[in-house]
Structures are given as C-alpha cells and as structure tokens.
C-alpha cells in the first residue's frame, strides 16, 4: 500500500529532512521533488548526504504531474506557500510546513506576518498539525498546517498543564534555546560558523516572535480564556534541537502528573521520572520529545524542561506523522529511528 508523495521546496533543510526520513519509510515513495532555483539539479548535488538514494531530479512545481501523487509536502518559505497551495488540485492532500495556515484568525495572521492572508478560504479548511492534540481532525484533513518548531516545543510542555488546570495561567515564562537549523539555509552573517559558534544571544525578545501567535491561539483555546506567555528564544551553537525551560506556578508533583497522564499512551512523548530534566542531545535526529519536571525551593513554583529536534518532531517528522494519519498508514511508520548520540 505504498503511497506517492511530492516534496515542494526540497532544497531547504526541512525538505531534505523529509527525504532523509522517507528514505527508510516502508510505505511512502517520493515521485517528485521541486526546488525552484535549483531546478534541473540532482538532489545529490544539492545535498551530497542523500547521494545513496535514487531520487527524482529537482523540477519546477509547474512541471509536476500531481495526478499520481497521493500527498504533497509543502516545505516552501512563508507566504510563498499559500500562493502555491492555492494553485494545487483541490483534492490533493497537503501537509504544509510553513507558517501560512497555522493561525485560524486572518486578523491574527496579518498582525504577526505583516500582510493580509492571500488564501483565506484555504486557511479556514486547514487543520493545526500538533498531532497529539488534533489527531482526529488530522486523520480526515485535506490540508494540515505544521506547527512552528518553537510552538510545538512550548505546547508539549505547557498545554497539558492548562488543560489539567494545574498552573497559574498568568505567570508563564518560556525561555527557549534554539539550534541554528531552525533558521534555515538563509545566508546571514549571524548564522556563519565564525559568528555563531562559541557563544549565544537572545533574539526576537520582548514578545515579538511570530510563534507567539500560535501560543496565544492554542493556549487561549485550551484555557477557554485569553492566555499570554512571556517567550524569549536564544540562538545556540548547535544544529538540531530546542530546549524549552518553562517557569510556572503550581504544585510540582501535580504538574508532573498532568504531563505523565496526558502522554502515557503517546508513542513519541516521553516524560522522565520526577526531578530528572531533558537534554536536546537525547532526542537529536529523532521524532521523540523528552519532558522533565522539578520543583523549586520557592514553594508553589515548578520548572518544566522539554526537548525535541526542531527539524524532526518540530517540523518534518511531525509532517510525516500527520501524513501517515491522512493516508491511513500506521502513525509511527518510518518515524521510530533512534536519536543519534554522540
């Protein structure tokens, strides 16, 4: 029951990660790869680490015959994605990895992304792709919007606590440590090895990061009233991984219990024993999430630490997990690869 998939935008990191994971997926077959500026090139030229695979040559999107494609992964830049998806066949299943269909409210989209949404109808149709919280909707979705990688990390740590009512909703501080692949393959001075390695800095501080739109939408929905978190990401001198250190108010054991209960049957979410904290090194290269909880010496405060790989569970692994559901495959198919350590 092999399914044919196309990857639009295969020359970036999330596109390459899709190829990496599908390489050992038992039920997916890549029948088309697009990469506008690199159309005509072999993937082995763009990403020599994929040289062992027999892959289609990169083409332009308009050259793809979608009639034999069961599902398209869209790993294009924000804003480009909505225009491209609007032109795809309306019955083609699509998993989008961009930010374009994450926000339900067009006004919120415009607020965070600075321009009106160009495909409002599609936006209505889209399902939010945080698998563990929207599994049933995703199973029947035509268009699934991948979450932001920061948004996924923060939600895995915080959402069950809101649902279980075990934390103070007005006192949530989310300090993120972000591996640099989350910034993509863009050519910026601060992403050069010479400038990034050897230190760290905060960015998009003060409530300006776009993933706050997702946190607001999802946490407010889960709480049934507006919730705003304080969120600061930091650029880290490593390639894969996000570590979220979450400062919350509540009873630490109850907080741990809420996470343990919520994720007991989840194949990819692993709650560590109380008092043990997560490390990005223990999930890198995999679709797994590690979560840990400890109390503080100040009574009534707790720390939740969550770790995932931004390219896998934070993006391309999540996308395949959702595609598996949409295609009627086993949810974990192709995704049980162990992390790579050291």
């Amino acid at each position: 029951m092999s399914k044919n998939v196309a990857i639009l935008g295969a020359s970036g990191y999330t596109g390459a990660e899709l190829v990496r994971l599908i390489a050992t997926h038992p039920d997916l077959r890549i029948t088309a790869l697009s990469g506008d500026r690199k159309a005509g090139m072999a993937m082995a030229e763009v990403f020599p680490f994929l040289a062992h695979l027999d892959l289609p040559v990169l083409t332009k999107i308009e050259e793809i015959d979608f009639s034999t494609v069961d599902l398209a992964f869209c790993a294009l830049p924000h804003a480009t994605s909505q225009a491209v998806i609007a032109d795809l066949p309306r019955d083609l299943k699509v998993v989008d990895l961009s930010a374009d269909f994450r926000l339900r409210d067009p006004a919120e989209y415009e607020k965070w992304y600075g321009k009106p949404h160009a495909a409002v109808e599609l936006q209505k149709e889209a399902v939010y792709g945080l698998t563990e919280f929207y599994r049933d909707d995703i199973r029947t979705a035509r268009l699934c919007a991948g979450t932001g990688c920061n948004a996924a990390t923060g939600q895995y740590a915080i959402r069950p606590l809101i649902e279980a009512g075990v934390i103070d909703l007005d006192e949530i501080v989310l300090d993120l440590k972000n591996g640099v692949s989350g910034a993509g393959r863009s050519l910026k001075e601060n992403l050069l090895h010479a400038e990034l390695s050897g230190g760290t800095h905060a960015y998009s501080a003060g409530g300006t990061h776009r993933h706050l739109g997702e946190f607001d939408q999802e946490f407010s929905k889960a709480a049934g009233r507006p919730v705003m978190v304080q969120f600061t990401p930091h650029l880290m001198p490593f390639n894969r991984g996000i570590l979220a250190t979450v400062y919350v108010r509540g009873e630490p054991q109850a907080i741990w219990r809420a996470l343990a209960d919520r994720y007991r049957d989840e194949p990819f979410l692993h709650v560590l024993p109380f008092g043990q904290l997560a490390s990005t090194r223990s999930v890198a290269g995999s679709n797994f999430v590690h979560l840990g909880v400890t109390g503080d010496r100040i009574p009534g405060r707790a720390i939740v630490v969550a770790a995932l790989d931004n390219l896998t569970k934070g993006s391309s692994g999540q996308a395949i997990q959702n595609a598996n559901l949409m295609l009627g495959l086993k949810e974990t198919a192709g995704l049980m690869l162990a992390p790579v350590f050291p």
Copy 2:
C-alpha cells in the same frame, strides 16, 4: 612599582587565566606557582599555550617563600582553599577565587556547602569581591573573596534594579546559559566533547545551585529584606561566557535607566542602547560586561540580558581587578584587553 604575586593552584583554568592576564600586566610579576599534583612540571607542559612565557616551575605550596610575595591568588578547589589560606602568613594579601569566603554567615556556608567552615575567623575578615559594589572595602582588604561566576553575572543585571527600587522583588526569574569552562578541568563524562557539544541541558535546577547562597545574601542586603530569585543554569556547548536572561516586573525604561545610571562611570560595564541585547561573543576573552534591556508585550514586564566571560570578569579578571585595588595599582591595569572575535 612592580609587585610580586604567587598563584596557588595554577594548573586549573582559573589559574591559567590569571597567568594569561598577568603576562601583559604592566605591574605584576609572577614569582611562584603551585600545583600540587603537577609539582615539578613547567607551566609549558601543563598549558602549552603559555610556552612563550618565562615562568617559575610549579611547586608545592609549602615550598614557596612568601616573604617576597606581595599578594597571593588562591585558585584552589572549594574547601581546600580555607585550609591553605589559614596557613599562610597573616599579613599576606590574598585574593581567593574559591567559594570559601563568599558567604558571611557560617550557617549559610554550612547549608550550601554541606559542612562547617574550617576558618571562621578568616571568613569574618573577608571582603566580598564584586568590585563595582565593594570597591572601597576591597581597597583596604587583606583577604578578598572572589564571587561565583554565576553570582557575578546575575548581580550585575539585578542588583542596581533592587537598589533603585524599580522591580518587584518577589518575581525574579534568572535563566543562565553557562560556558563549560566554568565546570573547570574536572574529568566527567558530561564534560567530554562527544557528550557536551551539539546540545544543551539544564542542571542544578530547582533552587539547588550553591551560588544561590550569594544571591540570597547580596540581594537581601541590597533590598533590606529577604529576596529569593528563581535560578536555573544550563550547560552550553561553548567554552567561555555566561548569558543571563532575567525576567523581571517593572517599567522597562526605568529598568534600563537604573542600569545605565549605575554603571555610567564603570570601566568594564557597558549598557547597550535600550532594546539591544547582549551576546557572550562580544565579551569573550575580556573583562567587560555587556547589559541590555527590552520590554515585553505584556505590560509591566522587562527582560534584562547580561553577558560576561566566566573565566575573566567572572573569575580571574575580577581577581586581578581586586588585586590592583589592594596593591594600590590602577584598577584597570592589565585588564583592558579587547574581547576576541570571531
């Protein structure tokens, strides 16, 4: 007016950093170096990067003739330090880099370090070495206790805010990102390159880190009432630098102003323009501290980011700054080296 100094414990990182800085110090001359397990070795063997210097051979402490020494730097492990200093001539000026003389209250020392202090009389005599806040005391001190590197970073960011009364004293969250040299040259699996590089994790979370003793002591003193901060350090895959991201309640501009006013005349503290945040890369290898402030979208909240080099301003550079004062030298002598970037 060259002064003679001895370095006790010269085979660790803070000892080597003292030698590095003194190498171009105009007024200090190293006349003795101790390194118990490495006694008899040349420094060039222990630290080949110091091979160009003409240095004394490492000896045992008891072999040093202190009669010609003007000041001893004591870069020994915690607990060892108090025993060694108790045996030094009572009129010898000493700058201690260990944790042994940081806490004023013997009960606090015992609480955080797990055993009674063995030199309580000396503890009383010691001055706390956060230069910018104890300059006059240090100038006349006989024994100066270097601060913890985390304690220095957090205090540079928070202490002026307490003094100026511009923040809520009960709502301070301090998230630290710590370069690995702070852990010293100790042989532990999690400090190996294979295990540390490529990711990050939190440690000593939940209010268990010993530097909290210093925060409690100093912040409570500055506030005139008990102050407890929530503090989580994270081990980072880089060698030098601490970045403190501090979440506080208060008016952001007033917070920025309090820092800018407090540090206006300080040679080593640099407050960035409002809205611009600090990076560890901009201070590595130097005695400088960078501080930045920004507001949050949630009214009444602000973020302060401070960066320093844990081995220099967080330890050995601070020690030399204090020694300069104690010896009647220019405070900045030998310490104006620019950071190293990239």
Copy 3:
C-alpha cells in the same frame, strides 16, 4: 526469522551505537546487555537517548544465559575482549569490535599492543571483518574481528589501488582527521569540550599508531610484498566521522577508475564523480562511505579523499553488516538509515 543477540560492553559508544542501529533492525532482537561497572542500571540511565526502547537491564557477563543467544557483539576494551571471548560457549557466533583479533600474527599483536596474546587459538580462527574484502569468509565465520576505524577508512581508499596496481606502493601518505568519539568515553583532559573544541592537533604521529599493524598486514597481503604507509591522525572538534586524505603516485583517472570499478556493486560505498571530494558531513550517522579522487598540478600525483562515520561504518555498523552475513540475513538489513544532515 528474528535472531537473538547479546551486546557485551553496552555502556560505551560502540555499544550504544549497536543498540541505536538494532532499534530499527527488522531481524535482530536484543536479549542481553552487559556493562560491568554499570550492571543493574537501565540503559535509559546510562544513555537517556535510548529511553524510548524496551531493553534488558545491564548485567554482568557471567549472568547472561547464552543458550538462547544467536550471536554476541563484543564491544569491550582491547585485551579484555580476548579473555571474555575465550570464556564464551565455543559454538556461539561472535562479532568482536575490539582490536584483539585483527592481527593474524601473534608477534605483530605483541609488537603493537605490548603484550602476548592470551587467546592465540581464537586469534587463528578469527576472520578480518572488512566486509567488502572478506565477505565470503565472514559468511561462514564463527568469530569475526571488526577492523580499526582508521584502518577501515584507509583501506577503503587505498586497497583497490594496490589490487589494481595503479599506485606506487612506496609513496603512500595517509593524513587522517578523526572525530572524537573514536577515542571512546574515556575521561581524559584532552577530550574535554573545553580543551578539544576550537582547534586541532596531530597525535600518534611518526608511525606509532596501532592501526598501522592492520595496514601493514592487509596492504602487504594485497600487494604480495611488504607495504608500509606513512600515517598521521589528527583529533578533530567534531563527534562523528573520519576524513582520510591520501597522497599517492599514479595516474589520477586510473585511480578513480580502480575505485569506481571495485565498488560499483557495493551497497555502502559511493565513489563521487572525478574531481569531487568527500565530506564527513555527508555520511555522519550512516553506514555509507564516500570516496573522491582528484589529480594534482604535479603530474603523476593524485589525492584520494574518503569519509565514513567511525561509529557506524567504522565500527558498529560494520559489525551489524558482518552479523547479518553470519546469521544468513540480508547484508544491508537495518543499515540503510540515511545520514543525518545538518
């Protein structure tokens, strides 16, 4: 047709890498794990990145019931391995990852390892595990000796050139760049992140590295006369990967052709187009080897660059490839995982 395997020495990096690879192997099941100093611990404690797996608790070797084990991987330190294997049931298939059974000549073993071999009979029985050159022997072997990771890298680059007679046998210079995981989990100052990151140095230079014993044995056998290479490894600030830069005399196109011909049908060896060179980043985390050849401006000289992951193709991946052969499984089973990039 699932087979039961035991891993002896599962608390080191090659042991953990075996577990990582077997986690998604379709035909192998881990039924016992030993780790002497860590006996009684769960693997999730020793290696949190394996926490998602349902694995046996670490035991002492003597507690393992080998009657239901089809094959044992022995990932123990050199010298320990020969003693342990001598005590295992004589009909148990064994793949050894140590250096103990690589050298055919007991005198050579003693020369390079500094003491007499303690299991000379077993040494005679062992087959050398460079799969692509000893496939038929391995298929029927009882005891297979894994190659040194450097020895594998150098042989993949050079051996076909000797066999094809296209290079000068007396003029081979092999400059290796070695990822630090090859040094294992041993606690040494020069393996600390603080000391290793940020630079490089040569080690075991001048013909003193033990893997020279393997080069001598195998190259001389392939050539039918003594061959000695000049070999210098360098410790690199990355975790996985060996890059071999080989300086040889011969016609560059003929050299490229010899490699391309030799490896045409090999599933894991990939010869890049002439003029294109290999990168360790393109094979990290995988069992693949990349090889590239270019000429030099000095006529009659060529450069061969080979890259592999020392923990996978250089050690544990190779071990599983050999185990697959010995157990009658598909040679590539469990080993087609794509490299991880970035």
Copy 4:
C-alpha cells in the same frame, strides 16, 4: 611617539582584528576607519565586541584626510586593494593585507588571480611581508604586502629546511587544516554553522589554491631552483587557527635542528622539544607560532607540524609587526598578548 594609523576595510574580520590588537598597542592610534557598505555606522554596531573602544565612525575612503596619517592598513578584498592603493598619497606608508602585492612576477599574478595586475609599478615596489625572512627590507619599505595565511604557515615550517638543505625538495606534501575565519565574512552556504560544524572536507585540492603562487615564488627563491609542493587545505569546524602537517624526506633530528637554529632569537616562533607536536589551541588569539618535529617509522622521513592563528600571525598580527618595523617602533609592540585557552 604615538603614530596615527588608518584602517581601510574595517568591517571584515582582518580589519576587526587590527582594531582588537591596536586597542592595547602602546604606540598606535586609530584616526580613520573605512567600510564602504557600512559607512556612517559606528564600529560598535558592526562589531559589538569593540563597543568599549572610542573609535572613529566608519567612512568612505575618499573622505579620509591622509595628511595626518602615518601608515594605512589596507584590509580590502583582493583586486580592490590595488586600485585603492594606487590612489593613496605616494609617500604614505601602507601595509596591505590582500593578495595583490604578494607575487613579484605579473605573469604569475595573472596566472593565479585570473586577470592582469592593475598597478604593476606598485607591485615592483612592494616588499613581501614574511617578517622573519624579510625584516630588513620591511624596515625601509613604503608598501608591504602581507602574506597569505596558508603561505605563512607553510613557510614557517618548510623554508628553514630548504635554506639548510636538509630535505628532499621534490617530495614535500603539505596538508593544512584551516579555521573558518580565513574565509572571511562572506555569505556562503558551506560557511553556515549548520553546514560547517560537525565535520570536515578538503577544498581547492589538486594544486589549485592561489597561495601556491606564493609557495612557488618563495621556495624556489630560497632553493635557487624551482620547487613545487603538493598542498591540500581542509575547512575545519573552528574559527581561528591553521595547522600544517608537513611530510618531508630528511633526517628528523637535522630537520628539528634547522628549525630550532633558525628561530632561536625570534620572539614569536617557538620550536617545541623534538617529538612534541603543535596544536592550534596553544596559539589562538596570539601572534605566536608553534612548530614541532618528529620522525617516522619509515627511515628518512619526518613530519613537521606548525600552528598559528590565521587572523593574528597569519594576517593582522603580522601586519602590525611589519608596521612596527616600518614606523621605527619596537617590533613586538602590542603583540605580546598571550593566546586564549580554553
């Protein structure tokens, strides 16, 4: 006797390194800084690590009044440099850090750089800036050409051996490991942290690297007959440092002796005891060069390992050393900063 200097091209890494070093130079004062695309910006914006310094704003070159400038450092890109220097006052002392004036023969320049030299008269006037070999010429030079960083490293290792006649001139293999700052601040995919960290690869292999022009010129001159070396650089995942592993034929002790004799009185060149090899970590951030020699098990072969910091001794430190000579200052002024470790 403070001298005024201008830095043309101060927004790149070598420009910033000049500022870093001059910051603690006792006799140089920066009176002008140019940076065409960043004209009008403060250095603290372009390089926040220089924020503690009181520096001129970046201007365009044509806005600089050279009448009060004693010497100009020209840290501009190749080809730009020759045009700019041709327009400077003819009596202005200039230290050029580009490749434009390194080669004596215009035909050689055109061969390696792909176009005719645009300032042939100036090319004739220029002195080659390898201080330890051209000290007297540099002292009286008007225009001094900085060497290539690879060219410096290789020459420090090899040149005394040619002069002493202790090696076979036709059998020199030079394998270089290059820190990434040598590639400058250029925006290329392969220089991104995500792509560069975690591995290594060879580049410009096969005798195509432009620094070969310098090797040919200088080694042939030293030997009195043509000498060609085989040279392969490798891009390393660290920021500062070049390690040269040189494979030569000759008697190892004689080779060590030739280096030790040649550099005995040199302030920046340090020959390690025989058998001990150099590490880039021991010179990073400094103007020092470490050199080591060992023999090989193959009689008549030796390995020389040289290490320097490409931005300091390989470029900006060398430039200041030459400027010191040209300005009649102490040669080592401002350059005795110890390396930074860890």
